[in-house]
Symmetry: D2
Subunit: 336 residues, 4 copies
């Protein structure tokens, strides 16, 4: 039984907590919050123990009538692994605390790769040995790694070129723009996302160009991969269909974008309408010569969640990568 804590109960943290709580070989010891907002109240309703992320906020929880089980220090002492889900860059500030408590830590993709012993993706990263910390790469990098790994294994990737049309903010972030604009972000090409893929797939040549659009639901990737071999369109579709964390959106299903994708996820009974899989439009997959094209949608709030579960096992569990992925998929229901 691996005891797990989640530090930072926001968009990613709440999902990681739910996923950990669903694992038979893990125990969710508790989650931290910085302030007693609706998320904190709901965590308690869900039965999760609540810890103050910052010592000076304890009184605020008391004032709001929310019971605390302790502070971050208490949580760190009680767990085998802490999953840091604080905002981008805050993980770096939290690291000394984790180290002072000797608590193995998992960080998210908003942190620099140097924060951890290794960057992690269950499908694509190298075996983990003797690591005390891992970084689960970002939503975009996770999705690109899952896609490029099988392509590289089967056909060799000569060069990948991807345009990332990113969501401007998550549904709960009303202070994020743009409104009525698509913004090159960064305006320089290639963007940093390609090098980030190389923290997982060291040798794959991938250039990315990133835009920001006025949507909250999902990222959209327009992908081109020049392969070394010349598979048929049908062979690539078959290959991707075989990946458990890739969902091939069937033609004629009436799924045309993020709205219908999430509607379908909810139809399947998934909490939060979460899509943990890369969502690839089957009809968009096309090979011409050695050039492969496709569109995939990425649920930025969800795709890293099963990866975090597998990262916990990579750090503190005793099962193989394959076994971990199978368990995670089974318990969460990953794979459509």
């Amino acid at each position: 039984m691996t005891r797990v804590g989640v530090n930072g109960y926001g968009t990613i943290g709440k999902r990681v907590a739910d996923a950990v709580a669903a694992q038979p070989d893990m125990e969710l010891v508790g989650v931290t919050k910085t302030s007693p907002d609706y998320g904190a109240e709901a965590a308690l309703r869900r039965g999760y123990d609540l810890y103050a992320a910052l010592d000076d906020r304890v009184a605020a929880f008391e004032d709001a009538g929310l019971d605390l089980a302790g502070t971050l220090a208490d949580l760190l002492d009680a767990v085998d692994v802490i999953v840091d889900c604080a905002p981008s860059g805050v993980g770096e500030r939290n690291r000394p605390t984790y180290e002072a408590h000797d608590t193995p830590a998992i960080y998210q993709g908003g942190e620099d790769a140097a924060i951890a012993d290794a960057s992690f993706n269950a499908r694509a990263s190298a075996p983990i040995r003797n690591a005390d910390s891992l970084r689960v790469v970002s939503c975009n990098t996770t999705a690109l790694s899952r896609l490029l790994a099988p392509l590289d294994e089967s056909y060799g990737v000569e060069k990948a070129r991807v345009t990332l049309v990113r969501r401007g903010g998550d549904p709960s972030e009303t202070n994020r723009g743009p409104i009525n604009d698509v913004v090159p972000d960064p305006a320089t090409v290639p963007s940093h996302h390609g090098p980030d893929v190389n923290t997982i797939l060291g040798d794959v040549d991938v250039d990315t160009a990133a835009l920001k659009a006025p949507v909250t639901g999902m990222h959209t990737h327009s992908v081109n991969v020049t392969l070394e071999a010349k598979p048929t369109t049908e062979e690539v579709r078959e290959l991707l269909r075989g990946e458990t964390r890739i969902f091939l959106i069937p033609e004629d299903a009436g799924i045309d974008g993020a709205g219908t994708l999430k509607d379908y996820a909810s139809d399947l009974g998934r909490a939060r309408g979460d899509l943990w899989e890369n969502c690839v439009w089957e009809e968009s997959i096309r090979v011409q010569g050695r050039d492969l094209y496709l569109f995939q949608n990425v649920h930025q709030e969800a795709d890293v969640v099963p990866e975090n579960v597998d990262a916990v096992r990579a750090l503190a569990g005793d099962v193989s990568r394959e076994e971990s992925v199978a368990r995670t998929n089974e318990t969460l229901g990953v794979g459509i």
Copy 2:
């Protein structure tokens, strides 16, 4: 045990089906679809029997490999009540079929009031006697009725004036606008929503003005009610807090709009992030003299769902209105 069918498994239909299936005194016999899209496939995965809404579409389901339990005619013969959830105006075209099968029917708010023996809202409409058909009023009318009924009972409503900032389309409707515009719709004031409230609350004087905005999540109502009495702000808050289908959003909860509201609903474990309640910002409630102001958000996809369940009981059940509401709330988890 009331046997129920749902004709039209779209945004409203799929939610009504789930809600009916959750009632111990009801049996969901099946749902109809016009085409074998993702919704049909998911209905089958959920274990719902699928019927073809239109006879000439049977072959399309076969081609798609989706098993049909029959056609609409078969469903009508097997149920005590049919809930029509077809697109606005199509219910009118379906009515003769229901009548030919002698099947009591519930229609949605997209239909004219004249379609049914009575318009229905569990909180506010008059007792139903000897009705063979009911119309559950629209999402906006449902929300206004729930709000105005207790105000009128407690303080008397001299006049209500409401600006409805309506969502442009549901999340799954990518062909709906506007983009980057707020459109008076209709441009004439008052809009038809006020008279529709009068199908439920015959005597309440209410004027509405309607706009359409580029959002998919919820409607927002800016409400003014001139009361006959002069309650305090705190009394009105207390009154509304006592209503089970009104959720008073606490101050300082960090809930600022539709995004955080749905996030909270999901945090509470609700399927589809559904908010069946009127969501009223507590801090927005203010009485000045006899003038009450407040903002409420309405989840257009969800608020009519418990009303449909209660309408089924009003038509074919044998329990009181209060008992029905209590059961529906209990089984679905209505009330925050």
Copy 3:
């Protein structure tokens, strides 16, 4: 000839500069910029003298190859009136500088009313006597004042209730949200906009409720006014038609929102597609009993511009208010 400077050449400043430059009785001495961006370059192309708003930015302009005519201090010494168009709150910080140079100043609506000797609206505010500074009220307050003044004069305003659906950001502000949300802002009702109207129309009872929507084009006001008299709908239409800074959008013109309004403004040959007038949908105007309803759209970037020109004359000119308004309208082409 009144010599005028504009401090802060952003959304409002660039429009005020153009409007001043178009007045036969005014000379635009120059405009200031804080950085050598596209606006600075375009100001020079337009033939406007450029001054550094901040002394420590002079080198940045030189590096960018943009010629400066001096700094703010030089501009203040060369003008009869400075129009402050710096961001909200920065005017307050600039005030001591203007006073040190003894330069009469006009501030914008983002500043507190206390910043100036009087708040100003050409149609509605009291006569200005012996003022050394004026504050042109905000876009929303300007529009409400223009509307309520004639109504109050002709029929008496018992109470006005207005829902303001505000644009989230200007078209050039890509860091502003919300995306896909309508946000009560502030969540308390009434908002501060009503009291701001009272800096112009001291005695009018007006309550406002404010929302923020994912649009950049215009604000939309849903207006209710309980009048003391009972004019007919046609009389109110006639009254508003007579106001030069109110545009009655004709029925059947095909104008349905901000997009078509701006398209029409451009069709009329207006620079920047600017709409200086309140845009009131004629068909939305309706009187029921003593209750008047209407929708108006407000071009936030433009409606205060003619008011600034009139404010310059109120501070430093020698013509009557009526004469000023007539000149401004004539030179700019205000009035559709």
Copy 4:
């Protein structure tokens, strides 16, 4: 003096009319409208003669008090060239009428290539000889042709791969979506835009993938071109800077998207904020090996306008292509 008529005075038609009216060697005889909306009224205010596009609408204009100079048949008899700017596909229905009147015609990009003797782009298409009709290619194809032609001439294009993030609708089209979604459209890759480029540049290998986003301002292209030669980044920037219908957005200008681009166009004094040029972010241009990357924005309402003017001269004028482009640029002010 070439006499020109414009059939269909909408988004494109009104701009073509203005551009034609600005040419010293052309006379705008008149424009047609199907209904007496704001555009018709504004055309008259601008001094353009108005013709009824459809005979049965004559009475509607009379009822609205708008003077007609005649019907389409009259206009066709009075001009040397008719520019068809009717909605996509309607040009095909209008063709027999033009032919019956023996009036040379220019069609827009919404029509099939087969409609005209040749497809046209002033920079890139082959010389026109003995044509009686031309098709000015679509906004996206125009922009791609302008970009690829110089690249192919200077370095050879081995293969171009472009993701088109298209605006959902024009600012005046409130019935167009999507809201809060980015939609693959078409979901198959490559899209038809590549083959359309080949109607101009027959031999260039170009694959396109198209998305639709909730914006109204501009299209955004994420471009990759594998070149045959290996120019430096600086050489490509220099090459594109030399193209009169390409605007290289300077670094550090503070221009980050469509909003600021249009603001800049208005700052330059351009009517409607129109950007006739491809707008390429200078800092986005990067060559790695033989791979060129860049982002360009395309003002869908404007870029085809100078091309239409040149198309008129190609059909009915007596000057060279170069001379025509120079005149058009000079009179309109194309080139930043």
